[in-house]
Symmetry: C2
Subunit: 369 residues, 2 copies
């Protein structure tokens, strides 16, 4: 494979992201030198194939990728810009405006700096979790500093493309506003909903369904990392949370009005309309999320099938779906409370639903939908 990225690439910070950048480039034939203040992290990154530790002969990288925690990223970028006066320097921190502001305040050479943010991650962290295809198909935001040289921007785009990502140009403030809405606020909301579960009894938890699991899945995230991210993007996140609180206040007020009434017929109509508007606004918002492959969201038909919880049953089901000539667009598994059986919700094009239902029934599957 021929890389668009030229010359030695220096990766500073060999956690999950840095080591995956190194491993992705090395796997594709790139020359990668590594640096990390932790000798252990550095050795692990080398051992997984992310590159070789930087030595005295590695003073002249073409590109430096800073993959440090968000709160130290600006300091590390500044040091790298000064240590390597011919190199283009990028970082992969998940907040861009505060890094840029710190660099500008420190008088950094912004012509050679291009911020970036690959929208990729894993539940595990550290160099041993690195994989070369971490960025495959993921958006990789490229943020021009406002003074970035065109060749510097191209070098960072080339890095993203070499790693299989989809480069997306966006200025730092637009990036931060975007991730506040699509990532940081959903994280906060998941944590706040999950926090309500701390004190409920086990009987209540036994009624939990897939909806609760979906809403709270993000709530398992690392507090230290997220404190750093949310603090670094505080202005944008706060604005969205304040808007959310305005809607929340309206719903709480409407519920108080409904509660004060003695029966549904005496509830103020305005209160019910406020609740309905909140749910309808959610309908409008969720419909805007792009669907599979980044295209316009298509409304799929769903066929739900009972799947015995035995090895090979799900594979057999999907084989039958394939033999029915129907392309599976999405698949969700649900497990039934207290029973060795699950349900597979198979999303297919709407025109294929009837055919698939008939084929699966003929092959002995029990349909729930």
């Amino acid at each position: 494979m021929t890389l668009a990225t030229q010359g030695p690439v220096r990766v500073v910070g060999t956690g999950l992201l840095g080591a995956s950048v190194g491993l992705g480039l090395s796997t594709r034939g790139g020359d990668v030198v590594l640096h990390d203040p932790s000798r252990t992290a550095l050795a692990l990154a080398r051992d997984v194939g992310a590159g070789r530790p930087a030595g005295p002969d590695d003073a002249h990288p073409t590109l430096v990728v800073v993959a440090a925690p968000p709160d130290v990223t600006a300091d590390v970028v500044l040091a790298e810009l000064e240590a390597h006066p011919d190199a283009v320097v990028t970082d992969v921190a998940s907040v861009k405006g505060s890094v840029l502001a710190e660099l500008r305040a420190a008088g950094a050479d912004l012509t050679r700096y291009v911020g970036s943010h690959p929208m990729a991650g894993r539940e595990r962290s550290g160099p041993s979790a690195a994989v070369p295809d971490l960025f495959l198909g993921r958006p990789w935001v490229i943020t021009d500093s406002g003074s970035s040289r065109p060749d510097a921007v191209l070098a960072v785009r080339a890095l993203a493309v070499d790693l299989g990502a989809v480069p997306v140009s966006m200025d730092a403030d637009a990036h931060d506003a975007a991730v506040a809405v699509v990532s940081h606020v959903p994280q906060v909301a998941a944590s706040l909903v999950a926090a309500r579960l701390r004190d409920v009894d086990e009987g209540a938890l036994g009624l939990a369904g897939q909806g609760l699991r979906d809403v709270t899945r993000l709530a398992g995230s690392d507090p230290a990392l997220w404190t750093s991210i949310l603090a670094a993007n505080s202005a944008a996140v706060r604005q969205v949370l304040v808007d959310l609180r305005t809607d929340l206040d309206a719903v709480i007020g409407a519920l108080a009005s409904a509660d004060a009434a003695t029966g549904p017929e005496t509830v103020e109509l305005g209160a019910l309309a406020t609740i309905a508007q909140a749910v309808a606004a959610g309908n409008t918002g969720v419909a805007r999320i792009p669907g599979k492959h980044g295209g316009v969201q298509r409304v799929y038909g769903v066929v739900t099938v009972l799947v015995p919880d035995a090895p090979g049953e799900l594979a057999r089901l999907l084989t039958d779906v394939g033999e029915a000539g129907v392309n599976l667009e999405d698949l969700q598994l649900e497990h039934a409370a207290g029973r060795p059986v699950g349900m597979a919700a198979i999303s297919v094009l709407p025109g294929s639903v009837e055919h698939l239902e008939a084929e699966l029934t003929a092959r002995g599957w029990r349909l729930v939908s």
Copy 2:
């Protein structure tokens, strides 16, 4: 199949739930008579096999199941108790306290009334969406009225068991408090987060990942139905939302403090601690959600595999997982932005991760995790 449910069962309201009750009992050999104020809904329910329309000879059901919208449930239960003085009457509305309060206020015979709530549903509604196994493996809450005769409670438990559900005894207030936390508040949170997406530009939406999709999936729900549910459970839902708002206010305040500072090192430590506590509280809450099959949540290992978007590829992958002798515990599909490829996150017991990774790599699969 021998049913525990005795004698003719009268189902009043032949939407999704009522028709599925009728279909489930009929399929298992039960005698079901149907009633619905809509002749169309009634005819559709009959046509899908849910039972026969009630005639003049069907005046003496043993059990009446009221499956009406939440805001008319109490009135219908009252009418059925009066029309059928020998029958046990239950309802399947998703809120129980307000129905019971209305019945009590109306002087209903609560010895023959037992509220219930099967935790089941589908994205489609109406009698044509009915399926006999809708309740299979789902919790079915049984709420004693406080005056319910033991044989009446047993009759409703038998109905749940006959339909494959798992009966769960809970009083009406405990039920309503539980569903406020595990269902109604997550619904509101999903709507509020999704509502933030109405006005962002498409570039921002292009950065949406699986986290946003999970948090907002419930936001596609029907505003009229949810207005009715939330209004009927207003006191319990409001209490949980008020608690949530207290935590939200703390996070917003902490972000304001972080924002006012000129750099991370000058942020008040208290502000960062508040943010970290909010995320940590979410960790604690989400860890309490029971896992697969209602047992204690197990921490699975996850192996993530690249899957070409071609018919049969996912089936081939799962066949290989089965042939590796590894039991798949859960499966999540993710799609890569702008690329005809997806990622399958396969959950397995932690001890099986290394073996599965080696087996799949040997069979030519590319691992992301």
